[in-house]
């Protein structure tokens, strides 16, 4: 029989340390739904996704019951809608409404892929889609959008960066009566992964197969609890403990992923080795850093602790899964992490420190509430800085800022649920307007010339 201690450890992780599978995401290619008539295109999209994902939610619910592992989200990621718009023309918001109907029919929590990949420039459909994002996110509840504006291979598309500053603001303005939630469903990427199961950035990349199951694990609470048991250990032992814990967490993700793939008759894609926090007490990445010995997340030493954590999670997780992908790293979304919220409230955690942290972890400046009167060019410049970190370090970075329209610095937005709540954080107001207005492209760095 299995060791009693191992059994009780697993139960303890689930019951008291918030161990869960964050998401089972089905990726679906919509390339065969493109046609030159948007009505027919929308019908094909609806029919295809509802056919392929019909059993997603009930099957995943069954796995949850049989294995006793909480599976929090069931999601769908689709081919970037800009590609459909390129073929069909018409108002892309029609696709947004179709995807919302799909989400309602199959009962998924989120559907991602209202996206455009414009790292080197705009092609047909891209600009129309980007301009429609604010309206699309305001008139839907479960749709998520992302735009990739740069990559290590191509450099950064500064025209897109300038545009996205305005789009983020507009998203917040159109949803100002609902905590500016539109901006929380939009992420701007550099080096966006094509198989990411996490929202808001999930989309089904053009290199992906027809249909695939990707799984995102979680478990910051488990890592913190493991570290709490070794208070006097040196930092090598800390790294080893994180590694061992990440292995166990990921094995569970791998099991769920292979079961879901088998039961749905769909290939297994990847397990995303991310430590994804929630606002619940005991499910915080910031608290892991504090367990390592920081008074508060944001203190000097935070970047080093996060680098160690991120690396150890990957080392432990890689061996536990046959295919690793997506974002794979520790997430630091401010409003979704109880420890980050407290650190931001106290002023210990600033945007500048968060930016430094993003150079050593996935993903980027995530779920940060900024003053509603922040000019579009400052938001664009924040996006450019973050994209530069991603481009130079050959890693994914992203920006998900929520301009709090009509809310002052020090006050808070409350999104509820997994998105949490966050104080309005101070933004450096020196103007980058001239830099942003130049447009053009930042050339790809030398790091891109690996051939």
């Amino acid at each position: 029989m299995i060791n009693t201690r191992d059994i009780l450890e697993t139960i303890q992780m689930i019951e008291n340390e918030n161990l869960d599978i964050r998401t089972v995401t089905m990726g679906i290619s919509l390339l065969d739904c493109c046609c030159d008539d948007i009505d027919r295109s929308c019908t094909k999209v609806y029919d295809k996704i509802t056919r392929l994902a019909e059993r997603l939610v009930p099957e995943v619910d069954t796995i949850e019951k049989e294995y006793g592992i909480p599976i929090i989200n069931k999601r769908i990621a689709v081919t970037p809608v800009a590609m459909l718009t390129a073929a069909s023309g018409g108002d892309p918001v029609r696709y947004a409404k179709t995807l919302q109907r799909v989400a309602d029919t199959v009962g998924v929590n989120f559907i991602g892929g209202y996206s455009a990949l414009v790292q080197k420039g705009f092609s047909a459909g891209d600009e129309a889609l980007i301009n429609s994002i604010p309206e699309a996110l305001a008139c839907t509840q479960n749709l998520c959008s992302s735009v990739n504006i740069g990559s290590t291979k191509t450099g950064i598309n500064m025209d897109a960066v300038a545009e996205m500053g305005k789009v983020v603001l507009r998203c917040a303005e159109l949803t100002k009566d609902d905590n500016c939630i539109g901006a929380a469903k939009l992420v701007v990427f550099c080096n966006a992964p094509e198989d990411n199961p996490f929202m808001a950035g999930a989309f089904h990349g053009p290199g992906e197969p027809e249909c695939v199951i990707n799984v995102g694990v979680s478990g910051p609470g488990v890592v913190r609890a493991a570290l709490a048991k070794i208070p006097g250990a040196n930092i090598t032992e800390v790294a080893d403990t994180v590694k061992k814990t990440a292995f166990k967490i990921t094995r569970m993700g791998q099991l769920v992923a292979s079961q879901a793939a088998q039961r749905l008759g769909v290939p297994f894609g990847i397990v995303d080795l991310s430590l994804a926090p929630t606002p619940a007490v005991g499910d915080s990445v910031a608290h892991i850093l504090e367990e390592m010995g920081l008074e508060s997340c944001g203190a000097h030493g935070t970047t080093a602790c996060l680098a160690l954590l991120n690396d150890a999670v990957k080392k432990g997780g890689t061996m536990a899964s046959s295919h690793v992908g997506g974002l794979s790293g520790a997430f630091i979304p401010v409003s979704e992490d109880a420890g980050m919220i407290d650190a931001a409230r106290s002023g210990c955690l600033t945007i500048e420190k968060l930016e430094a942290m993003t150079s050593v972890c996935s993903v980027g400046l995530d779920m940060i509430v900024v003053p509603g009167d922040t000019p579009a060019e400052i938001i664009s410049a924040i996006i450019a800085d973050e994209a530069a970190i991603g481009m130079v370090n050959s890693k994914t970075t992203a920006v998900r800022l929520i301009p709090a329209i009509g809310v002052r610095e020090g006050e808070e937005l409350n999104f509820g649920g997994l998105l949490g709540s966050g104080p309005v954080m101070k933004v450096n107001t020196a103007s980058p307007a001239k830099f942003i207005s130049r447009g053009g492209r930042i050339p790809a760095p030398l790091q891109s010339l690996k051939n």
């Binding site: 029989m1 059994i7 009780l8 139960i11 019951e15 049989e66 006793g68």
Partner: protein, 89 residues
């Protein structure tokens, strides 16, 4: 398919018989039981074979959970694979 039932809570009369009665009613064979009492906390782990079970896994698990609630116990029913995956390379 084999499952592991874990029961944790304050020791009272009839915990083992309560769980095994539900197994028997549903044609579920008990393979192994281990139980201990740590500082008045009752802890039982039962390995069962569900191959010939007359009930769906989810219903069986709900039934045990409901019994646990009545007696103020935490009862988890999970497929054995979870523990093998997590704790064995």
């Amino acid at each position: 398919m084999r499952a592991v039932i874990t029961v944790v809570g304050k020791d009272t009369v009839g915990i083992l018989s309560g769980v095994s009665d539900i197994c028997a009613e549903n044609n579920i064979n008990i393979i192994e039981v281990s139980q201990s009492i740590l500082q008045e906390l009752f802890c039982m782990i039962m390995l069962v074979d569900m191959e010939k079970s007359s009930v769906a896994f989810a219903d069986f698990s709900d039934r045990l959970k409901a019994m646990g609630k009545e007696k103020n116990l935490q009862i988890h029913t999970m497929q054995e694979d979870v523990f093998n995956a997590m704790h064995h390379v």
